[in-house]
Symmetry: C2
Subunit: 258 residues, 2 copies
Amino acid sequence: MKIVFIGSGNLATHLSMALQNAGEEIIQIYSRTFCNANILAEKLHCEATNSIDEVFPNADVYIFSIKDDALASVATKLCHRNPKSLFLHTAGSVPMALFEGKAQHYGVLYPMQTFSKEREVDFKEIPCFIEASDKESLATIHRLAESISENVIETSSETRRKLHLAAVFACNMTNHCYRLAERVLEEDNIDFRLFLPLIKETANKVTYLSPREAQTGPMVRNDKSIIDSQLCLITDKRTQDIYRLFAESIYEDCKRSK
Amino acid sequence: MKIVFIGSGNLATHLSMALQNAGEEIIQIYSRTFCNANILAEKLHCEATNSIDEVFPNADVYIFSIKDDALASVATKLCHRNPKSLFLHTAGSVPMALFEGKAQHYGVLYPMQTFSKEREVDFKEIPCFIEASDKESLATIHRLAESISENVIETSSETRRKLHLAAVFACNMTNHCYRLAERVLEEDNIDFRLFLPLIKETANKVTYLSPREAQTGPMVRNDKSIIDSQLCLITDKRTQDIYRLFAESIYEDCKRSK
């Protein structure tokens, strides 16, 4: 299949490379910034453009992997010119209906993972949530997704929104907890790498125990003397508020389970 | 060395078993609840008691691994009877000075990890932070710690408090982020296990990138339309407040790095 990528960010980079490795033909990368389009195009040995007018017509599939608020306007410009093509976006929180009235064949392929350009990922493990406007499009998206992932799940736009929210908790907010830890350590010049075994075990534990069963520490015991003494060590108001809310939330959650 | 454990919780269980595997002789477990003492004592093939008066005298080492607020009173009762022994506690946030005036030889051995009884851990990887009242005690604690861990670090009580705070961020609060994700998924009966690849990659990423470099998602881009739409999906006020504070904190933190 001939595929054009609209976007050249982290997700576009990893997804386009995975699809190419699976034998698909990526023919062009579009990005508002030519330089960004070109960096990815060079990796894929394909064309680059920063002009919507120069996007190749009649590709089999156009995959949009750009900021959510730019999606609608770029789709409006591109879809009507290529009525036979399949249009996909890759966003967690944008309903498939974005393409309604713009394209005939459309859908979503949302790979749930955190992508950074500097870091390789194994696409096989990544759950890909898909949705389509019609049976034929669904079959195509299914085939594309299954060529790169062993975990393809058909999901409605409404459920995908929930998945995206849960991913923000499990990934972005988790990662910020690591950052808040690092900030405490920086004050005393303690190497963050000392914390990697703890971080690894915390993540591995929930493979075997539910997050509730896995919980430990002063908050689950509502150990007020430690909680108060730790609050005194935190130097900024917002982080204190975060700590306090977690102390309450963890204690409430574990009480409920008893 | 003949060692008595005061406490039979998660940490006491894992630490006593690791020390026994390393060749130390655990002779007795004390716990307020006989049944708890006995469960651990059976694993270790040693004695159990729930009476302070029956704690064996003249052990080489007494290791206290009980709730922080119970430490002082139990230490007061035990230490003076055994003036030649070494007394240790394993708590992150309790200063070594707790033993001052009670014992002659004392110190701390704080293994920084999250312990649950149901889950085995590899002690070798766990950083153990140690502190002692005198050179001789330090040498003993060093030897004990090195018999189970490859990562033994001498640390003051003040730094240990910071380490414990950072551990609450990196472990307990992280684990609660998993739990908040799970709660969103429960509403739609989505299997939490689908999130394990995301959780694993989020944890692995910070081995190679700093938490700041590793950050992705709507909060780091300050993508207001997604943030507002996700806030609407959250059904309880406290979790909304947590989400909002993280959105601010992540955005602020990444702005500072630019």
